[in-house]
Assembly symmetry: D2
Homo-oligomer: 102 residues x 4
């Protein structure tokens, strides 16, 4: 299972706000039944690496459909195969070491 962060950034739109683009992508993910987590800097997805990359290829198209002419998509794919890793588990593992949870 890979944990993946993706940030889809339309360029040259004339507006400094990106939230409507992010909302379109989030709404699309929900319509597909895909679980995701929104952070201040991106969207977190979990799953098999090839499936997630195929999903991101579709997400990357959405701002073009909204009129963007250039889109920069940043992906950080963290894939660990020696144990089952989850996005929630990663944060909890640090919190446990800091003595915040048991």
């Amino acid at each position: 299972m890979a944990i993946v962060q993706v940030s889809i950034v339309p360029l040259g739109t004339g507006s400094t706000s990106l939230s409507s683009f992010v909302a379109k992508v989030s709404g699309w993910l929900e319509a597909q039944g895909v679980k995701y987590e929104l952070t201040p800097m991106g969207t977190i997805l979990e799953g098999d690496a090839p499936e997630i990359l195929s999903l991101i290829a579709q997400m990357h198209e959405l701002p073009f459909l909204e009129g963007a002419a250039r889109v920069m998509t940043l992906i950080n794919l963290d894939d660990r195969r020696d144990k089952k890793a989850t996005a929630q588990g990663k944060v909890e593992s640090v919190a446990r070491k800091l003595g915040k949870i048991k």
Copy 2:
């Protein structure tokens, strides 16, 4: 105010786990009185861009003190000057457009 994500990744440590390194950096931030948010893929900081970058320069040294010989530090600095932006505000702005909050 910039919103910044930083991921500090020690390489060649012989262990696939990074959580003890992340906990050290988080503990150090708390000792400095710096507010941060931990996501599954990084640490979110807010503040003036030069101050945050100076802080990250110090964070980047910590894994070397723990014995790492190579450290890759990824930074995404999102700096908006036409309105006051916060990490929480970015996520809420999307949630509002999705009709999840008012």
Copy 3:
């Protein structure tokens, strides 16, 4: 046409050197007949976004075959659809503005 940078980083290998992993991936690209450019921080590919992401999904598997148990793959996909963009053209466009080429 998208211009894409990909960096494939195996974690926890016990060695600070990554060049043998990069060479494996580069050799694989050459065996596939894929054109690429190597920079000090990644591999540059050009093509349709979905095809490049599908190719990267295969590249991402290679370090696991070499024994890595955790792989972090960083992707920056720059996709411009209002004009034909190439990796070489992007660098030349800046050089022209700096008066270094005509």
Copy 4:
């Protein structure tokens, strides 16, 4: 010595072209006497990590002076302390393993 890639991306400018912004930053680096390498996806710098981050803090300001209201700056800082690493050396090390140079 760290090897660092930085990409400075102004958002909401109304133009899909970034080359004039990149040229401004490159011209500024040359005026400062800083050595850099331009790749299709960013600018490569070499030096001590804190000094490079301080330099990037200044580079990050330049698009604001040109009228941008939001700037996203992406940094990948690769810092190896067990041997002297250079940007050129990293690429040559891979080329040597591929049998392209001796």
